[in-house]
């Protein structure tokens, strides 16, 4: 029989001037107040500035590689270019589909795919986390800080590695508690605020007073716990948690957030395609490119700004190499 693309009335002739951007989100999709949203805002900017047309698909929890391949294929068949797989889960699918559609440019966020027509958009979370570590070390009064990860996957471990290095480089005496809320294929740690809260409370009870938390939706629990203890701080991740309406009550305890600006990567890719010079290879968004950064909302970092800037300079200059595994 015929394949599905043949059956579709394929309108793959891309619109003349405008680019058609296909976005395949990971589980959560637009509106996750996290990195999917960040990618979406990059695409939105492209829509506004470059007149791009958007098509968004979102993964289900049960999706396998075949489903991700299907999504990308559907987009490619319909003439979308570039097509961005948001999240490392798309790596395999991008690898397969990009080989079949050599004339389309693909983007992959958080992973590296070796194909001629793929732009691998990666971020140096460890660098941002290093700064978070420096901030924590400077802010702790009890020489005791904590780290909470949602799941012990390598990506989250980058956060841990950078953070730990940042703390130790600033003050080796400081004790660091680390805790993962779930492990392996159980990713409930990203959706369990109660577990985040318990873990944070455990650390606070044992004397920690700054907790860095990279646990998706569970961050709120940890932040709430920190807000309940006088003088304790929480550092969030992914988006500026100080600005999240649901956390408004706990603002006073949100020291900062480690931002990962996926939007820049996505926007850059769309722009390059629009300009007719599609980006390919590895595009690493580091501290220096503002790919990662510490949020300053609330102004709680003002007193240590100098030291943070100094650390940032050293990283940018390559004087400090931040590890990616703890």
């Amino acid at each position: 029989g015929s394949t599905s693309s043949e059956k579709e009335d394929s309108d793959s002739d891309s619109g003349k001037g405008g680019v058609k951007v296909g976005l395949a989100f990971d589980v959560g999709g637009r509106g996750d107040h996290s990195f999917n949203d960040s990618a979406a805002s990059g695409a939105d900017k492209a829509k506004k500035d470059l007149g791009a047309e958007l098509k968004e698909l979102t993964a289900k929890t049960s999706d396998t590689e075949a489903d991700r391949v299907q999504k990308l294929t559907d987009l490619a068949d319909a003439g979308y270019n570039p097509i961005v797989g948001v999240g490392f889960a798309y790596a395999g699918a991008v690898n397969k589909v990009s080989a079949k559609y050599p004339d389309t440019t693909f983007g992959i966020v958080d992973s590296v795919v070796d194909q001629k027509n793929v732009d691998s958009i990666v971020f140096t979370e460890e660098q941002g986390s290093y700064l978070a570590g420096v901030a924590a070390a400077l802010k702790t009064k009890k020489d005791h800080v904590g780290f909470i990860g949602g799941n012990d996957n390598p990506l989250i471990k980058k956060f841990e590695a950078g953070y730990v290095q940042g703390v130790k480089d600033t003050d080796p005496k400081i004790k660091i508690d680390r805790q993962y809320l779930s492990r392996g294929n159980d990713t409930s740690g990203f959706t369990s605020p109660d577990k985040g809260e318990s873990a944070a409370e455990g650390m606070l009870d044992r004397g920690a007073d700054v907790v860095y938390t990279a646990a998706g939706n569970s961050n709120t629990g940890a932040i709430e716990a920190a807000a309940g203890v006088k003088g304790a701080w929480a550092i969030g991740t992914d988006s500026d948690q100080y600005a999240v309406p649901a956390l408004a009550k706990f603002k006073h305890a949100i020291l900062s957030s480690m931002l990962k600006n996926v939007d820049i990567g996505v926007y850059d890719l769309v722009k390059s395609v629009k300009d007719g010079k599609p980006k390919t290879g590895v595009s690493s968004y580091a501290l220096k490119d503002k790919g990662v950064a510490l949020a300053t909302s609330g102004g709680y970092l003002d007193d240590i700004k100098a030291k943070l800037d100094a650390a940032e300079k050293k990283i940018v200059a390559g004087e400090i190499k931040v590890k990616t595994t703890p």
Partner: protein
């Protein structure tokens, strides 16, 4: 000839059993005794290992928070299975509860959200009832279907209700609702502080007791109190009222109940509806107390764990509360403290296994005794040669503990006789 009439009643089965009378009182004293010794042991382990977190107020409070949804799920299971309907669908009913609570919770008040969660759970229960009671579908099969349906329906509804308009503006998306206000919680201020000062001394037993009591009176959510009351109320209703007697009779022998004029369908429906409501409340607790929002995947298999707690508790309210408590305790322990404190549990395990070996030896069950002693030795070696349980295994503590305790005690469990039986009116002969 004439038959010799004997005055003694004919022999019953040659079965010797404790008389039924003072049974209930003795179980209460026994439970208290067990609790006392358990505490003593825990305290001992704490003193030896210096793992002060074992009985700290924070640990207990966290245990309680983690235990409540599991306990409510278990209680839900109890209601349904006491009426003879196996309820694997608890997970789905909890999911419905989280959704209902999140949905109405952010729009109105958390109290209404709580009610709505219960209501959604009841709907789930009734679907299960329709399939099992009216259509006579196998209970496990129907439960699985309810789980699937609840998951699918809430995902769909969440997409419709949370991913657009005002909800989205307030932080909703296809996987979560906007946040709702908090429900009140209580701390008994004076007592909390007093207890925490005692706890700080780390005295043997006394500090442990203070820690535990402290944990029980600090930041106690109103829903936790409701849940505790529900456990007691369940006991009272099921074992002290005629409604409860009728309901239980449907789980023991529905045909006999029918022959005495009990409308079995009514009681089974009532039971699954209450069951669904309780599971929904468990879900609502997750959505309103532990996180203030509905989140997809929030229940995380707690419905199944609740089922385990119920079986663990021998289909009794007190027992399931203990089961949920144990699960909450070990979960809180690993979440709050990681590998070092869980390591202390190894010593506790060693002592328990040693006691078991001694007991089995006393009973002349040499094989079991030997096996227990051997395991005990292995655990001791593990304890002495390491300082920490690998963090990856720490997360599995509650599952492991449950498995262990069940394999030591499962044979004493007795489920309602007609549990899972497909009943339809007039099938009796």
């Amino acid at each position: 000839m004439t038959a010799t009439m004997t005055d003694v009643p004919p022999p019953a089965a040659p079965k010797v059993k404790g008389s039924g009378g003072p049974r209930s009182r003795s179980t209460l004293t026994r439970a208290l005794l067990y609790t006392f010794f358990g505490l003593l042991l825990l305290s001992l382990v704490r003193v030896i290992t210096d793992a002060d977190q074992l009985t700290s107020a924070g640990q207990i409070a966290a245990s309680l928070g983690l235990a409540v949804p599991i306990g409510l799920a278990a209680l839900a299971g109890l209601w349904s299975e006491r009426a003879g309907v196996i309820n694997i669908g608890l997970e789905g009913m909890m999911i419905l509860g989280t959704f209902g609570a999140g949905w109405l919770g952010w729009q109105t008040s958390p109290w209404l959200g709580l009610l709505c969660g219960v209501g959604f759970g009841v709907i789930g229960g009734l679907i299960h009832g329709l399939a099992t009671i009216t259509f006579g579908v196998d209970h496990i099969v129907s439960g699985v279907a309810v789980n699937l349906l609840a998951l699918g329906a809430t995902q769909y509804l969440a997409k419709i209700f949370f991913a657009g308009g005002e909800a989205q503006a307030k932080g909703g998306n296809p996987k979560q609702s906007p946040s709702s206000e908090a429900l009140p919680d209580f701390s008994v201020a004076g007592i909390s502080d007093g207890l925490s000062s005692i706890e700080k001394h780390h005295w043997f037993f006394v500090s442990d007791l203070a820690g535990i009591l402290g944990g029980l009176v600090t930041h106690l959510s109103v829903v936790t109190i409701i849940a505790a009351l529900l456990v007691v109320a369940t006991w009272w209703v099921l074992w002290r009222t005629s409604f409860g007697l009728r309901l239980r009779s449907c789980g023991e022998n529905p045909i006999a109940a029918e022959s005495l004029g009990v409308n079995v369908y009514t009681y089974k429906y009532a039971a699954v509806a209450i069951s669904g409501g309780l599971a929904g409340l468990g879900g609502a607790f997750l959505a309103l107390v532990t996180s203030h929002i509905y989140l997809e995947g929030q229940t995380g298999g707690r419905g199944y764990i609740g089922l385990a707690a119920m079986i663990f508790g021998n289909w009794r309210p007190g027992g399931l509360a203990m089961g949920a408590g144990l699960f909450g305790f070990s979960d809180a322990l690993q979440l709050r403290n990681g590998g070092t404190v869980v390591h202390a549990l190894l010593l506790l395990l060693f002592i328990l296994l040693l006691l078991l070996a001694a007991w089995k030896g006393y009973r002349k069950a040499w094989l079991q005794s030997g096996l227990s002693a051997l395991t005990a030795a292995a655990v001791l070696v593990w304890y002495l040669t390491t300082d920490e349980v690998p963090s990856d295994f720490v997360g599995a503590t509650p599952y492991f503990v449950t498995l262990l305790v069940l394999s030591l005690s499962a044979q004493r469990l007795r489920m309602p006789r007609a549990n899972g039986m497909r009943y339809h009116k007039g099938q009796g002969k």
